[in-house]
């Protein structure tokens, strides 16, 4: 499964090469041209039939949150810092792979026997943690690892199954979006479709900013793997999104207010085609659309996301039904985009 390959590829922000190679292999026969820009974005053009002059950009980011080695201790353990937003609490005792040679390591943790009662109620800060690669000294550690090496979570992709066809793996934010975008390139469209597999979203939408500048699109869609907090709660408050309830459409997040005309087009298209959909809880998170819609003279933009539990943690869970429905919704919506009136 392509999602498995994408999920297991190593691509912390700024170091997306391995993910890009998986994607190039998957799309090279589906597109008319593809190139890698100065920052590392993979930009593919699927030429349209010529019926529509509109340029449509669909973006998904290749990068994932991870770690970077910042200091090697005398005893051979590795100090690190997060790249992108990671909750300190999810780090302890996790397996990681470091650098291009994928040196295995473990984020060390003190056994429960040694914890002071007070420490049991405290969160250990990332500055206090270290990665153990089994090295006995700084010299030995530096044979396999160097300062600035990236580390990613070592998590195999597995099918959990069930009625929602769930799978678990790392980096569904945003390899789920990459998987949807690759599927979309199998279709044909009346307009030129620019697929942008972007870099460095997790550290500030940096790839999308320059990709949008070079593409100069008329309309843009960002595809995401987004927050899903649907496990039972005491209070009747938003789950952000719900697993299995279909692709989530963004109305507003911290980075963008989606163009209402695109939000409506997506919702109406879903209703017309019997595709389940949901609106993501507004005001939460940010996406590549945040950078794209502000590019040049402005670009009407919207976000479509596959709900994923436990994002920005080592293991995420998503429903393949949601993924398939995101592909269907985007395919049907793109078929309508050339007719959408964007004047006002």
């Amino acid at each position: 499964m392509l999602l498995k390959e994408l999920s297991e590829a190593f691509g912390v922000s700024g170091h997306e090469g391995a993910v890009r190679r998986v994607i190039v292999d998957a799309i090279k026969d589906l597109v008319d041209e593809h190139r890698v820009d100065a920052l590392g974005n993979l930009i593919a053009l699927k030429k349209g039939s010529g019926e529509s002059k509109r340029k449509v950009m669909v973006a998904a980011h290749m990068d994932e949150v991870g770690l970077m080695i910042v200091y090697v201790e005398r005893e051979g353990s590795l100090r690190f810092r997060p790249v992108g937003g990671i909750d300190d609490r999810v780090l302890l005792s996790k397996k990681v792979l470091i650098g291009d040679n994928k040196v295995p390591g473990v984020i060390g943790v003190k056994p429960i026997h040694l914890l002071e009662p007070k420490q049991r109620n405290q969160v250990m800060r990332v500055e206090e943690m270290s990665i153990d690669i089994g090295a006995a000294s700084k010299d030995e550690a530096e044979h396999s690892v160097k300062l600035g090496d990236y580390a990613a979570f070592d998590v195999p992709f597995t099918e959990l199954g069930g009625t929602l066809r769930t799978v678990k793996g790392k980096a569904f934010d945003d390899r789920a979006g990459c998987a949807v975008l690759i599927e979309l390139l199998r279709g044909s469209y009346p307009f030129d479709l620019y697929a942008a597999f972007t870099v460095q979203e997790e550290v500030g939408m940096r790839g999308a900013q320059v990709a949008a500048y070079s593409i100069a699109p008329d309309v843009a869609f960002a595809l995401e793997g987004t927050i899903c907090d649907d496990l039972p709660k005491k209070r009747d408050v938003s789950p952000t999104t719900t697993l299995g309830a279909g692709p989530a459409i963004t109305v507003m997040d911290r980075s963008v207010i989606a163009d209402p005309r695109l939000v409506n087009l997506l919702a109406e298209t879903a209703q017309k085609n019997g595709i389940p959909y949901q609106f993501k809880q507004p005001g939460i998170g940010g996406t590549d659309a945040g950078a794209i819609h502000l590019s040049r003279q402005g670009v009407p933009s919207v976000v479509v996301a596959v709900p994923s539990r436990y994002i920005h943690a080592p293991v995420c869970v998503l429903s393949l039904d949601d993924l398939d429905n995101a592909v269907r919704l985007m395919r049907e919506t793109l078929a309508q985009v050339q007719g959408l009136d964007l004047d006002r």
Binding site: V237, M252, I257, Q281, S295
Partner: protein, 334 residues
């Protein structure tokens, strides 16, 4: 001008949903600009072309006022039909309880609050909800993503005016009035009514890119230090338009600032300088557009900013129009 101000402040237009404000402005300025267009994000851009004047170099001047106001957006509909919400822009939770909001369809909701855990608990939006009177979820017509604005009628107290959304409809009114009164200018004057200022100066970012101005002046409100035990600030209501020196996001272009002050002096009108310790305006985004723009800010002093009852002085408003007319009619000395 008060009728224009009333119409503008009472219009519905949270960030991203400025359509009603835009239509209103479009109608008011019809026939007074050489070109009017709406761009991809919804900014309304009216160009009044310059007429050459002997010895006055023509500049491309961008004036902005943002059409959007703060508001709320529905984040969840609970089983009993109550609406949870999130803020659009800088909404202060204090003072929200008992506020009324209006949706695009005109329906009204009331903001309520969960029982606090202690009498001194600071109110937070997570523990508030909107009650639209729906008896249950089935009868609730609003859904996740619907936006609402605060609602209060415009009040004319004579010299002082009270309304919601003076930030920044009072500047929209000033720009409209300036355009209507402007006889001719040696400069190409772009009157830009921007979108999405309250969520990050977004409309100004894209409109500045397209206009490529030589000089820009954002017109916006600023807070004052003239109320009881206020945060110290040397801006008062009724002491004239404020010329920005700096705020949290920008240092005003010294040339623009001086040009504005000298023009005010020439016109014999009151003005004050403004140093604002919080917040910023569209000028911040415009200043760093492309290769850089000489940008300043004309601020209209306003009390209780971002509350449903903001207060401005009518003299300050009229003097703001006067100053803009003065700036546009002569040579740009920066």
């Amino acid at each position: 001008m008060k009728e224009l101000i009333k119409a503008l402040t009472e219009a519905f237009g949270p960030s991203g949903y400025e359509d009603a404000v835009r239509e209103l402005i479009k109608a008011r300025i019809a026939g007074h600009a050489d070109q009017v267009r709406t761009d991809a994000l919804g900014n309304l851009i009216a160009l009044k072309k310059g007429r050459p004047q002997n010895g006055v170099p023509s500049r491309r001047i961008m004036l902005t006022a943002h059409m959007d106001e703060i508001g709320v957006i529905i984040s969840h509909v609970d089983d009993k039909g109550f609406l949870r919400f999130s803020n659009i822009g800088g909404v202060f939770p204090i003072g929200l309880v008992g506020s009324r909001v209006v949706f695009a369809d005109g329906s009204i909701g009331v903001i309520g609050r969960e029982r606090p855990e202690s009498p001194t608990e600071f109110p937070t939006m997570e523990k508030m909800y909107i009650d639209t009177g729906a008896p249950d979820k089935q009868h609730q017509t609003h859904k996740v993503g619907d936006v609402a604005a605060f609602t209060r009628p415009f009040v004319d107290q004579g010299q002082r005016l009270v309304a919601k959304a003076f930030d920044d409809r009072i500047a929209c009114a000033v720009l409209v009035q300036t355009l209507l009164e402007l006889p001719t200018s040696p400069h190409d004057a772009y009157f830009v009514f921007t979108v999405q200022e309250e969520v990050g100066l977004r409309g100004a970012t894209t409109s500045a890119f397209s206009i490529e101005p030589d000089v820009a002046i954002a017109v916006d409100v600023t807070t004052t230090g003239d109320t009881p035990e206020a945060w110290p600030m040397a801006v008062s209501l009724g002491a004239g338009p404020a010329i920005k020196v700096k705020d949290r996001g920008m240092l005003a272009h010294v040339g623009v600032k001086t040009w504005m002050a000298k023009t005010a002096e020439k016109l014999g009108m009151p003005y004050q300088f403004e140093v604002l310790e919080a917040g910023s305006t569209d000028a911040m985004a415009i200043q760093t557009s492309r290769a850089g723009v000489a940008a300043g800010v004309l601020s209209i002093p306003s009390r209780y900013t971002h509350s449903p009852s903001e207060m401005v002085d009518y003299g300050d408003v009229q003097d703001s129009v006067k100053l803009l007319l003065g700036l546009l009619s002569g040579s740009v000395e920066i």
